[in-house]
Subunit: 141 residues, 2 copies
Amino acid sequence: LQVYSILKNDIRDIIIPSDKVANVLVGNNLEHALLVLTKSGYTAVPVLDTDYKLHGLISTPLILDATLGLERIEFENLEHIKVEEVMHRDIPYLKLDDPFERALNLLINNPFLCVVDDDFHFEGILTRRVILKKLAAFLHQ
Amino acid sequence: LQVYSILKNDIRDIIIPSDKVANVLVGNNLEHALLVLTKSGYTAVPVLDTDYKLHGLISTPLILDATLGLERIEFENLEHIKVEEVMHRDIPYLKLDDPFERALNLLINNPFLCVVDDDFHFEGILTRRVILKKLAAFLHQ
Ligand SMILES: Nc1ncnc2c1ncn2[C@@H]1O[C@@H]2COP(=O)(O)O[C@H]3[C@@H](O)[C@H](n4cnc5c(N)ncnc54)O[C@@H]3COP(=O)(O)O[C@H]2[C@H]1O
Ligand SMILES: Nc1ncnc2c1ncn2[C@@H]1O[C@@H]2COP(=O)(O)O[C@H]3[C@@H](O)[C@H](n4cnc5c(N)ncnc54)O[C@@H]3COP(=O)(O)O[C@H]2[C@H]1O
């Protein structure tokens, strides 16, 4: 019986709230986005608009892929390309009342998941680190 | 009783073997390392020597941090800096007969772990994705 309880809990208590999450705006250019990623130390962050709605995800691999020229990496292009041109749009997301089980299944292939409300406003993220910590604690009960 | 069995299994059957793992050499420069990361799509890979011994880990955040100038990102420096100057050396590692429990605890704070033999030769990696897949399957028994 105990095994199932962890799967049914909702994720509300374990998300990192939006004010603690680094992000970029859809209208930013890739040079700015790369600077945010470099300074924050993260390899991917959510992409929002000025109403704090979720639009997608931008990562260093996506940005660097846009700089791959024929022979070398061409960084000069970065200021001329917008985040919305290369960001990953079709990302899975969670609602605050989604169960742990849904988050666990989606985190198999995603390092983190964005959490939104019914108007698609960004609430925060749920990371692999937090879910692994919960699972390790659960298995050591 | 069932809960503990998964923790005691050794990790041998779930690692990604070395021939499937992208890596760079200690003597490579950061421009080459960034190219390997960009083409492979990974954000961090192991650093080896020509004897296939493990020396550390190199990531896009570590490389980009080395390019942060006063005002902007200075990519010209990359070909003049060696991987061994910026790589993360003090990384946790696993042996093939280590238990799942040790891997789970270390993957809380590390996206992947390198696996080595007694001579520190690189055997492969164990990733968060694989361990989450195992845990999800275990909880759905
Ligand atoms: N400043 C820091 N301090 C301590 N540990 C750090 C760290 N930066 C990275 N890590 C460690 O490295 C893992 C991978 O980070 P990454 O940036 O690739 O991948 C991250 C990043 O893309 C995103 N993320 C996490 N926290 C974030 C935040 N506060 N703002 C924006 N994005 C975040 O979620 C992904 C998974 O994060 P998770 O925590 O599971 O896993 C993190 C964490 O264990
Ligand atoms: N080409 C691809 N195809 C499918 N999914 C991909 C992918 N590249 C990345 N991903 C997904 O993104 C996650 C984070 O990748 P990242 O490169 O930041 O972080 C990776 C990377 O640093 C390293 N890694 C994984 N496989 C590798 C390999 N074959 N060679 C070198 N490093 C590898 O281990 C970290 C964790 O990997 P994990 O699989 O848990 O988690 C991966 C995986 O779920």
